[in-house]
C-alpha cells in the first residue's frame, strides 16, 4: 500500500487526474508547475510501474517563410500566379524567351523557365516546345486559388505557425507537400508530441491522491549545513540518485610519464644499494670517449654522430698522470696487457667539448674520483646524439647508466643485477645476447619482453682493463646503460618518441599514473 509518492510523481498523478485522458506534456507542465525534464522523468518512472502510458504522436510544425508571410499579408503574390498573369497579358500564351523580358517577372526575380514546369504541375498551363499556354487563357481567365495558396493562407490565419498531422485537410497537406524545399514560402519541421494517460491502476492511484489517502513525499536533494545545525535532516527524506549515471570528468595534476619511469628507476637502484651520481651535459671528450678506451677515429666520435661545441670548444684536461696513462693505453696498451689501438693519440681531440653521448661518462668519472671497491653507482640524465627528429629519434633522450666495482663481481652477477632491475620495473622476462661495445668485454645486449614483443633495452658488459686500470681500479667493474624512453613508450603505449617531448596536453592528462597493464 502506497502512502507517499515522490514530489514529481505525486504532482503528475494529480495533474493527470484533472487533465483528463491523453494530456500532453506541455499541458502537464502548466498543470503541475514542474519543469518539463522532471515531469517527463516522473512520467517514465510511473509508466515503468504500470500507472501511466506514454504515447508519442508525430506532427509537422509549419512556419511561414519571409515571402510566405508577405503573401499572407497581401503584400506579395505567389511566383506561379505572377507568371500566369504575365501569360494573360500575352493572350494566354508565350515562349519562355519572350517571358524573360517581362518587367514584372524580372522585378520579382522570377525565371520563367524554372516556373513553367510548376504551372504545368498545378494544371494551370501546358508547356510545349518552349511555349507556355494557359488553360482557359483564351477566355482571359486567371486560374483559381491552388493548394499552395490554401496552405499559406491557413498558416497565416493561425498566426504564422501551425501544426498539422496526417488527419489534417488534404488540400493543405498537398500544398505543404508541393512547397517542400521552398523555405522562402514555408518551413516544415517534423516533431512529435507526448501524451500521457492513466492506466486502470493509475486511475485508482489518482483517486487515492484526490482523496488524500496518498500524500506527497517531502524530499531533499542534498544535505545542507542548515539541516545539520537545526537537526531538520532527521525529518528529511533524501532523493535517491541513479548511481549508474556518469559524472563530469576530473583530471589531477600529474607528473610526466617519462619522469615516472625515471623515478621508478631511481627508486629501484636506491633500493638495491646504489649511490647516485651525474656529470655535465657539456662534457669533455676525454670523459665521454677517451677514458672509456674509445679510439679517436671511432665512428661514434665523428661529427656526423656526436654534437661538438663551438663555444666552449675545449676544457683543460684532467690530472696529467691520468691523461698520460690513458694516452699510453690507447697507443700500446700501457700496463694493461692490451695491444692498444696502435695510433697516435691527440690530447687536443680529448680536450674537445661534446654534448655527452651516454651517462657512461658519469660512471667513468665516478671511478676516477674513487676507484676503490666496493661501490655501486648509478646515473640518470639527458644524453645527446646527432639525430634528425623522427618518430623513433630525437637529438636528446634519457639514459640510466650503472656500475658495480667489486672484488666478487662477474659477468654472471652483471646479468643478475640487470634481471633484478627490470623485474623491479615490472618486467618479468629479460633475455641476454652477445653484443659489442668498445669499452666492455664481454658485452651483452639486454632485451625485455613487453606485450608479447621483445625490445632491445640496454647494453652492458664488464669494463675492459684498458678502461679501469689507468684510474687505479684493479677489480672487475660491471657496467650497463640503457635508454628510458623506450621503456616509457612500452609502458604508456606511445608510438613516437616525439610525443614525450612535444606532447599533446590531452595525452599528458590522459596517461594513467598506473601505466598500461599488459
Amino acid at each position: 500500500m502506497i502512502e507517499k509518492l515522490p514530489p514529481h510523481q505525486y504532482r503528475l498523478i494529480k495533474a493527470l487526474g484533472t487533465g483528463g485522458d491523453k494530456t500532453t506534456v506541455e499541458q502537464l507542465v502548466a498543470l503541475s508547475g514542474v519543469d518539463q525534464a522532471l515531469i517527463s522523468a516522473a512520467a517514465v518512472e510511473l509508466a515503468s510501474a504500470g500507472y501511466t502510458e506514454i504515447e508519442e504522436q508525430p506532427y509537422t510544425e509549419l512556419r511561414l517563410g519571409e515571402l510566405g508571410a508577405a503573401i499572407g499579408r497581401g503584400e506579395a503574390e505567389l511566383p506561379e500566379r505572377l507568371l500566369a498573369r504575365a501569360l494573360l497579358v500575352r493572350q494566354g500564351s508565350a515562349t519562355v524567351k519572350d517571358l524573360m523580358d517581362d518587367k514584372k517577372l524580372v522585378d520579382a526575380g522570377i525565371q520563367p523557365g524554372k516556373f513553367a514546369k510548376k504551372l504545368v504541375e498545378l494544371n494551370w498551363a501546358t508547356f510545349d516546345q518552349g511555349t507556355l499556354t494557359l488553360i482557359n487563357g483564351a477566355e482571359n481567365q486567371e486560374p483559381s486559388a491552388c493548394d499552395i495558396e490554401a496552405a499559406l493562407t491557413a498558416v497565416h490565419v493561425s498566426g504564422g505557425v501551425m501544426n498539422i498531422d496526417s488527419k489534417s485537410d488534404p488540400r493543405i497537406l498537398s500544398g505543404v507537400k508541393r512547397l517542400k524545399g521552398r523555405k522562402e514560402l514555408l518551413v516544415a519541421r517534423d516533431r512529435s508530441r507526448k501524451y500521457v494517460s492513466l492506466t486502470y491502476e493509475g486511475k485508482l492511484l489518482a483517486a487515492q491522491v484526490a482523496g488524500g489517502t496518498i500524500t506527497e513525499l517531502i524530499e531533499a536533494s542534498e544535505l545542507t549545513p542548515e539541516m545539520l545545525s537545526d537537526g531538520s535532516w532527521r525529518k528529511m527524506q533524501f532523493r535517491q540518485y541513479d548511481v549508474s549515471l556518469s559524472a563530469e570528468k576530473a583530471v589531477p595534476g600529474k607528473s610526466h610519464p617519462l619522469v615516472r619511469v625515471i623515478e621508478q628507476t631511481r627508486l629501484a637502484f636506491l633500493e638495491l644499494g646504489f649511490t647516485e651520481a651525474s656529470c655535465p651535459m657539456a662534457e669533455m671528450a676525454f670523459w665521454d670517449f677517451d677514458a672509456l678506451f674509445q679510439p679517436q677515429d671511432h665512428p661514434a666520435r665523428e661529427m656526423q654522430d656526436t654534437f661538438y661545441c663551438k663555444t666552449p670548444s675545449s676544457y683543460p684536461l684532467p690530472d696529467q698522470e691520468i691523461v698520460e696513462r690513458v694516452r699510453q693505453t690507447h697507443e700500446d696498451g700501457w700496463e694493461t696487457g692490451s695491444r692498444g689501438w696502435r695510433y697516435k693519440w691527440s690530447p687536443e681531440r680529448a680536450a674537445q667539448v661534446v654534448l655527452r653521448t651516454h651517462m657512461t661518462a658519469s660512471s667513468i668519472e665516478a671511478i676516477a674520483r674513487n676507484p676503490h671497491a666496493p661501490q655501486k653507482i648509478f646515473s640518470i640524465g639527458r644524453v645527446f646524439r646527432r639525430e634528425t627528429v623522427d618518430y623513433k629519434h630525437l637529438p636528446e633522450f634519457m639514459q640510466v647508466d650503472g656500475i658495480i666495482i667489486d672484488e666478487k663481481a662477474s659477468f654472471a652477477s652483471l646479468l643478475g643485477t640487470l634481471e633484478t632491475f627490470y623485474h623491479r620495473m615490472g618486467i618479468p622476462e629479460v633475455a641476454f645476447k652477445p653484443d659489442f661495445f668498445p669499452y666492455t668485454e664481454p658485452s651483452v645486449g639486454v632485451q625485455i619482453k613487453w606485450g608479447g614483443q621483445w625490445f632491445e633495452m640496454a647494453g652492458a658488459g664488464v669494463f675492459r682493463p684498458e678502461v679501469t686500470e689507468p684510474f687505479g681500479c684493479k677489480v672487475p667493474v660491471l657496467a650497463w646503460g640503457g635508454g628510458l624512453e623506450r621503456l616509457a613508450m612500452a609502458i604508456y603505449n606511445v608510438n613516437s618518441i616525439k610525443d614525450l617531448y612535444q606532447s599533446d596536453l590531452d595525452w599528458l592528462k590522459d596517461a594513467r599514473l598506473s601505466g598500461i597493464i599488459p
Binding site: 595534476g253 600529474k254 607528473s255 619522469v259 637502484f269 633500493e271 638495491l272 644499494g273 649511490t275 647516485e276 651520481a277 651525474s278 655535465p280 657539456a282 665512428p299 661529427m303 654534437f307 661538438y308 661545441c309 663551438k310 663555444t311 666552449p312 676544457y315 696498451g333 696487457g337 692490451s338 695491444r339 692498444g340 696502435r342 654534448l355 665516478a366 666496493p374 639525430e387 634528425t388 630525437l394 637529438p395 666478487k408 663481481a409 659477468f411 654472471a412 652477477s413 646479468l415 643485477t417 640487470l418 634481471e419 641476454f432 645476447k433 659489442f436 668485454e441 664481454p442 675492459r464 682493463p465 660491471l478 614525450l500 617531448y501 612535444q502 599533446d504 596536453l505 590531452d506 599528458l508
Partner: protein, 618 residues
C-alpha cells in the same frame, strides 16, 4: 646499420650439416648476430650494368642503378628479373667483418656447432706473381702508400659467388675501411693479367681506361671518370688535388683498377673466372692487413666444393719485399682461472680449451693450472686483450646458459639531493593542478632570444655541428620551452597549467676566464587562460617557495626590466643570503609581442625558480 642477406641454401651447403632454418637463425643469434628474419628475396639485374640487387617482398625497386647511374621512369626500364632466393637477413656486426659473408659465417658456425673446430690453416702456396710498387707511391707525401695482394686459385665462380664477392667487398669497404678512407679493395680475373703487376701513378688527364659498369662507351680519362661515373663522383674527394692517380696495371697493359675509386672493365670477375687476384691498398696498416686476411680466407671458404687454394703474392717495394697475405697469428695468454672468475661460471681448464677451439682459435695447452697460449686467426679484428678471448669463451659457452646472480657485497645507497628537491617542487605544482611536461635542452637563438624579445647572450653554449636550425645552442632558461609547448596545444581547452623541471646551462655569474658553464636545475611553469594575471602566478610562486622551505622573510620581489614581459607586470625574486642577495626566480605576464611570435591567442603567465646547481656526486 646495413643489413646483409645471406643465402640460406649456400650457408647450408657450407655448413656441411643438415639443420633447420630456425636452428640456423637461433645459432646466429647466440654468436651475436642480429637476425632480422628469414625472407624470400627477388633478385634483379641491371639492364645497364652487371649490378644485382635483392628486394624483399616489402621493398620496392629503385629507379636508379647505383653503379651505372642510369635512371628510368619505371623499374622495368632499369631492372630485369633474375630469380629468387631465401636469405637470412642480419644486421651487419661492424666489429666482426670476418662474418660478413656466407663463407666466414659458416666457418664460425661450424666451430660453434662443433663440426670443425680449432684454427684453420690455409697453407698458402709460395708466390708465383709479383707486384712492383713505384717509389712515388711509397713517398711519404703520398697518402695511401700501402698495398697487399693475394691469389685464390681453382675457384668455381657462378652467379651466386660473383654476387657474394661483390657484397663482401661493399661491406668491407663500409665497415672496416670506413667508406674507403682507410683502405680499398679490388678483385680481378687473374687469367686476364700478365706478371708482373705494377702499382704506379697515371696522369689524371692523359691516361685512358674503361671503368667498370661503363657499358659500350669509349675509354675515358681518370678526370672524366671522376666527374661522370657514379662511383667516381662518390669518391673523388679521396684523390682531390692529385695530378697523378694511383693505378694497378698488368704487364700486358691491361688495367686492374684505379684505387681507391674503381676497377677496370677488362679485368673484372666473370662467371668464367677460375683464378682471382685480390688487392687492398690504403693508409692504415692494421686495416689493410685485416682486409686482405678476411678477403683471402673468406673467398677460400666461399668455394662450395672446398677446393679453392690460396697463393701468396710477392710485394716488391722500393726498399723491401713482402709476401702477402701474411695471415700472421696473434698469440695471447689466457688463464682459465681468470676466465672463470671474470665470467662467474663454473668451467674447467679443459672446458676453456674446448670453448676456445669452438671459436676457431688454436690452443696450446701447457697443463692444468697454467695459462693457455691462444693463437688468434689473422682474420679476427676484435682481439686485443685476454678479456676479448674470455668473451669468446662466454659466447661459446652460451649466454643463455649463464645463471644470473647478485654481487654478495652490501652497500648503502644514496640519491642526489638535487633530484629529491626536484620532485618536491614538482609535487607542489602537481598538487596545484599543473601538468608536467618535458622539452629539449637544445634550442635556437631564434626561439630562445628573438621570439622572446631578448638580446642574444654573448656567452652561451653553441654547437659546432648542429643538425637542425631549431637546435643550435643549449637553453639558458625554461621560458621558450614552455611557450613552445603551449604553441603546440592551442586547440586544447583553457585554462592550461603546465610546468617542467629541467636543466639549463648558463655563464651568468661565471668569471670570464672560466670555460665551463654552470648547469642549473630549474622549475618553470606557465598559465595560459583567457585571464592570466600576475597575481595568479605570484600566488603559485609563493606556494612553491613555501613548500621548498624558503623563508618568506628572506624573499624580495623586485620590479626589473624584462623584455619578454608586459611592463610593470614582471618581478624578479631575490633571496637574501648572509653575505649576498641572489636572483632565484621570476614571475611575469608575457609581452603580447612575444605571444604573437609564438602564435598564442591567449594571455600567458610564466614563472620559474632555481632549485640549485646540478650535482655530480655526494
Amino acid at each position: 646499420m646495413p643489413v646483409i642477406g645471406i643465402s640460406v641454401a649456400r650457408l647450408h651447403e657450407l655448413l656441411k650439416s643438415d639443420i633447420s632454418q630456425e636452428k640456423v637463425a637461433e645459432l646466429l643469434e647466440q654468436i651475436g648476430c642480429d637476425v632480422e628474419g628469414v625472407v624470400n628475396v627477388r633478385r634483379f639485374i641491371s639492364k645497364h650494368s652487371d649490378y644485382v640487387i635483392e628486394v624483399t617482398p616489402q621493398e620496392s625497386l629503385p629507379l636508379t642503378d647505383p653503379t651505372s647511374g642510369f635512371t628510368g621512369d619505371r623499374p622495368q626500364d632499369v631492372w630485369a628479373e633474375a630469380g629468387e632466393e631465401t636469405v637470412v637477413r642480419l644486421d651487419l656486426l661492424p666489429v666482426r667483418p670476418d662474418i660478413f659473408d656466407a663463407g666466414g659465417l659458416a666457418r664460425a658456425l661450424r666451430g660453434y656447432m662443433g663440426v670443425e673446430t680449432g684454427r684453420r690453416d690455409y697453407s698458402a702456396a709460395t708466390p708465383t706473381w709479383r707486384v712492383e710498387v713505384d717509389a712515388r707511391i711509397t713517398d711519404p707525401r703520398f697518402k695511401r702508400p700501402l698495398i697487399q695482394c693475394a691469389i685464390i686459385r681453382n675457384l668455381e665462380i657462378d652467379d651466386n659467388l660473383l654476387r657474394a664477392i661483390m657484397r663482401l667487398q661493399e661491406n668491407l669497404h663500409w665497415a672496416l675501411c670506413r667508406d674507403r678512407k682507410f683502405a680499398s679493395i679490388g678483385a680481378y680475373d687473374l687469367d686476364t693479367l700478365e706478371n708482373p703487376i705494377r702499382y704506379t701513378l697515371v696522369d689524371r688527364h692523359a691516361f685512358r681506361f674503361k671503368p667498370l659498369f661503363w657499358g659500350q662507351r669509349d675509354p675515358v680519362s681518370p678526370e672524366t671518370m671522376l666527374t661522370e661515373h657514379p662511383k667516381g663522383i662518390d669518391y673523388a674527394h679521396l684523390v682531390e688535388g692529385m695530378d697523378e692517380l694511383p693505378a694497378l696495371l698488368s704487364a700486358n697493359e691491361n688495367v686492374l683498377s684505379l684505387p681507391p675509386i674503381i676497377n677496370a672493365e677488362e679485368t673484372k670477375l666473370t662467371t668464367n673466372t677460375k683464378n682471382v687476384l685480390v688487392d687492398v691498398t690504403g693508409s692504415n696498416e692494421r686495416v689493410v692487413e685485416k682486409a686482405i686476411s678476411i678477403l683471402a680466407t673468406s673467398l677460400v671458404e666461399l668455394d662450395p666444393r672446398g677446393q679453392a687454394t690460396l697463393e701468396r703474392v710477392e710485394m716488391a717495394f722500393p726498399d723491401r719485399t713482402l709476401t702477402t697475405p701474411a695471415l700472421a697469428v696473434d698469440e695471447f695468454s689466457v688463464d682459465p682461472a681468470f676466465a672463470q672468475r671474470w665470467l662467474g661460471i663454473d668451467i674447467s681448464h679443459q672446458d676453456c680449451v674446448e670453448l676456445l677451439n669452438k671459436m676457431r682459435h688454436e690452443v696450446v695447452d701447457h697443463g692444468t693450472g697454467r695459462p693457455l697460449s691462444v693463437r688468434v686467426p689473422a682474420y679476427r679484428c676484435d682481439i686485443m686483450h685476454e678479456v676479448d678471448l674470455v668473451e669468446d669463451i662466454a659466447i661459446a659457452y652460451g649466454y643463455h646458459r649463464i645463471k644470473p646472480e647478485l654481487v654478495p657485497t652490501f652497500t648503502a645507497g644514496q640519491g642526489l639531493a638535487i633530484n629529491t628537491r626536484s620532485r618536491q617542487a614538482a609535487a607542489a605544482l602537481t598538487g596545484l593542478g599543473f601538468t608536467e611536461c618535458l622539452s629539449l635542452v637544445l634550442t635556437s637563438e631564434r626561439n630562445h632570444y628573438e621570439k622572446m624579445r631578448r638580446e642574444i647572450s654573448a656567452r652561451r653554449v653553441t654547437l659546432a655541428n648542429p643538425i637542425s636550425q631549431d637546435q643550435t645552442m643549449m637553453r639558458e632558461n625554461l621560458h621558450s620551452s614552455l611557450l613552445e609547448l603551449l604553441a603546440l596545444n592551442t586547440d586544447h581547452p583553457l585554462p592550461q597549467r603546465i610546468f617542467e623541471v629541467g636543466d639549463v646551462v648558463t655563464y651568468a655569474g661565471a668569471p670570464a676566464d672560466q670555460p665551463r658553464p654552470r648547469e642549473v636545475r630549474m622549475i618553470g611553469g606557465a598559465i595560459c587562460a583567457t585571464r592570466a594575471g600576475y597575481a595568479g602566478g605570484r600566488s603559485v610562486l609563493d606556494a612553491l617557495l613555501h613548500e621548498m622551505g624558503i623563508d618568506s622573510a628572506l624573499i624580495e620581489y623586485r620590479a626589473e626590466p624584462n623584455p619578454s614581459a608586459l611592463e610593470g607586470r614582471s618581478a624578479t625574486v631575490y633571496r637574501k643570503d648572509s653575505e649576498s642577495v641572489l636572483p632565484i626566480g621570476e614571475v611575469f605576464e608575457v609581452h603580447p609581442e612575444v605571444l604573437e611570435n609564438w602564435r598564442l591567442n591567449n594571455p600567458v603567465l610564466l614563472f620559474n625558480l632555481v632549485l640549485g646547481d646540478v650535482e655530480y656526486h655526494h
